[in-house]
Symmetry: C2
Subunit: 434 residues, 2 copies
């Protein structure tokens, strides 16, 4: 993409309405635009990041054996009356009447709808287990939407639902998602720690919140220091195993949110930090399957009410949470796997023929190599260009200027460390594609 054509409205000043750093930086980096209270449009740069985050979520769900589908945003109130949640959900549910005065709602979650779909089609234990997911916009009518994407009203969530014949199967499904979530966040270049959690309005017996540590986090959390040294991608035993040892290892270390923290039982060597919730998994047995009649015929011919769990990742919230965990005073520092572009090629002097020639050549080579590259071909001061690239947080900045070219070099800067090197063009290309 060429900066001269890209719709990237960066701002020099921090907008007064933004209180938290992710909201400030998303506005300044031209990633989002508020369209109503707590509702945002994703501008092209933000949309690219959201897609990358969603794609990692998708790949790890698929890898864990979950199947993607898509449920609609608008649901009928009738379904929610079956589970008893229609009245219970309160004012955060956006309630709608259609032109025929039928009561509808904008889905805040999908336990009822998926249970209804499941029971329509699945009748036999032979069709179990099943795990179905979708990545869909949800709405929660917050009384005071704030903090940008962190507490918005319309938000993107990956939610999935597991169906098993018995408790043992349901717990295996739970452990698979526990691993999938750890892998998902690790692949994004961030550490999310599962903490035992209250089950809240979803209900159930077993639940973990996945918390990203960030100084600017919304709540206090406690965990053993050893947590920070674990490497889940190295520890991954694969989904064909029963995952018991893995689960035991990863739940044996102390990790708790403030509500669940118990100083009496906590170990002495404790990290106290701020955290942001980015995922939540639940095993809740027959809480929805029983009232809604999700029953299959078991191996012995008798009816069995299926055991369920549900699992959520706040995909749009993850984007903000990554920024909270990874930024400096100049702007965002994207981890490579979720960066909107991998390399920014900065032409220092757009009206210099040689700078333009080399910049275009480097841009074309990176595109041909399948690298997501942004070319700053604008006629702007060097300082403005560097400030923009630091602000939008591209992992590699490859700067091409007249002085360097005379010496046969370009400058390569790593955003995360600030480290700069002068290198011949080919060496710089090898470094960013290697």
């Amino acid at each position: 993409m060429r900066m001269s054509q890209f719709f990237l409205p960066t701002l020099k000043e921090t907008p007064a309405e933004a209180q938290v750093v992710s909201h400030q930086l998303m506005l300044r980096a031209g990633m989002i635009r508020q369209t109503s209270a707590g509702i945002y449009a994703w501008l092209p740069l933000g949309w690219k990041v959201l897609q990358k985050v969603a794609q990692i979520v998708r790949e790890e769900q698929d890898r864990a054996g979950a199947q993607e589908m898509l449920m609609p945003t608008i649901q009928s109130a009738e379904l929610w009356r079956q589970s008893g949640r229609y009245e219970a959900y309160g004012k955060e549910m956006l309630r709608i009447k259609d032109r025929h005065d039928r009561e509808m709602l904008y889905g805040p979650t999908n336990e009822e709808m998926i249970t209804d779909i499941f029971k329509t089609f699945v009748r036999s234990y032979k069709d179990l287990p099943k795990n179905l997911y979708h990545i869909q916009w949800k709405f929660r009518d917050e009384i005071r939407p704030r903090f940008g994407l962190m507490r918005g009203r319309e938000f993107l969530m990956k939610d999935n639902y597991s169906f098993d014949l018995d408790v043992e199967g349901a717990k295996l499904s739970y452990r698979k998602m526990f691993l999938a979530y750890l892998r998902t966040f690790a692949r994004m270049g961030i550490k999310a720690i599962p903490m035992r959690a209250d089950t809240g309005p979803i209900g159930g017996d077993l639940s973990h919140e996945f918390i990203i540590l960030a100084e600017t986090g919304e709540s206090q959390v406690f965990c053993e220091k050893r947590w920070l040294d674990l490497d889940v991608l190295a520890d991954d035993p694969g989904y064909d195993s029963d995952l018991k040892d893995f689960f035991a290892k990863y739940t044996s270390l102390y990790a708790a949110t403030e509500e669940m923290h118990d100083a009496a039982t906590a170990p002495a060597e404790l990290e106290t930090a701020r955290g942001i919730e980015v995922g939540h998994i639940f095993y809740f047995g027959t809480k929805y399957s029983a009232p809604m009649g999700a029953v299959v015929t078991g191996p012995d011919g008798n009816p069995v009410t299926v055991e369920m769990g549900s699992y959520g990742i706040g995909v749009s919230r993850v984007v903000a949470a990554i920024i909270e965990a990874s930024h400096d005073s100049n702007g965002i520092i994207w981890p490579d796997p979720v960066a909107p572009f991998h390399v920014a090629v900065v032409n220092l002097k757009a009206d210099d023929a040689e700078c333009a020639r080399v910049s275009e050549e480097v841009y074309a080579k990176l595109q041909a190599a399948g690298v997501d590259v942004l070319l700053d071909d604008r006629n702007e001061r060097p300082g403005a260009k560097f400030a923009d690239m630091d602000l939008i947080g591209i992992p590699w900045q490859l700067t091409i200027g007249p002085r360097g070219l005379k010496n046969g070099v370009v400058e390569l800067k790593r955003r995360a460390t600030g480290e700069k090197q002068e290198l011949p063009v080919e060496a710089a290309l090898a470094k960013v594609t290697g």
Copy 2:
């Protein structure tokens, strides 16, 4: 994907509520499930097709220089008052009050919102032209939703919006989208004919509907026979040209919907057919930019109200329209580019060791080659397996049975033609991957 694990609830009987063939086949093929009147969940098979269709739309938009973003589904009524459409839109707009009694709506289209975003950030002619698109769910509260996806309430649409400094620029943007739409449908393996159209509630001076011909189409259309012989992918002059000759050629042939048809001026050699609208493009000048104040500074320093166009493809509707245009009495016949799977490997005798061994080997080889493959490993009668594969319309069926294996062959069937061949495994693999 293994059929034994896949959530694919096919139906033997045609559901009584479905009147048109696409609705019948989507239900029978386990692609969708109605969750409320005119609102559908996309089950995994349907979701795969919807994603493939959306991806082709996306690639052709990107290729034409449009930039992807994402606007939210819920909009404020205030924006629509600025354009004067809030009252005008009628009962098809789903109107919502949030917990603070603010008037909101579920977006049926996005002219107002994109114009507001544009005017916030774009102030100079130097930033033009711009073309922004998104692929987002829309809602139209149809009084009588029917025909499944053809006239549903919640539907997926790609809509984009072009902004230009002058009429000449806006018309070039229009021609680019005209080409992009022709390419988009051609790449899906279907022929969509642009027909001069009434501009309706969007307004404007210049407009084409893109119509797929199908015997079961919703309305009557008229076009010259020569239209059917045009090959847009061969004729494509590229987006760096002014596209005038191309546009002239493709609009010189007579093509009109029933409302626009004029027998007096139509040529004698006319094809009368049924058609389905899948896209609609509009040039409407300053209809939204003037009342909403989307003004930039021109090259001479004077303010210029920008010239706009909008362009829509009914992505979910396209899935149904393709089925209307491509099916037989046994089921769907997917064109290769949008098929949910490219090949179905049918193991005729799941409990035969040699059949299982070869089937697994073929399945693994196709997966390794990056082919989207479905393995029918179920313990079902051969007749039931063939019926399911014909119903869900996979382009290639590769059948592995004990009799064939004794002779060193498998059977390869092309869904579209019914043509069958017996071939050695390697030859069959070469054919489906070639």
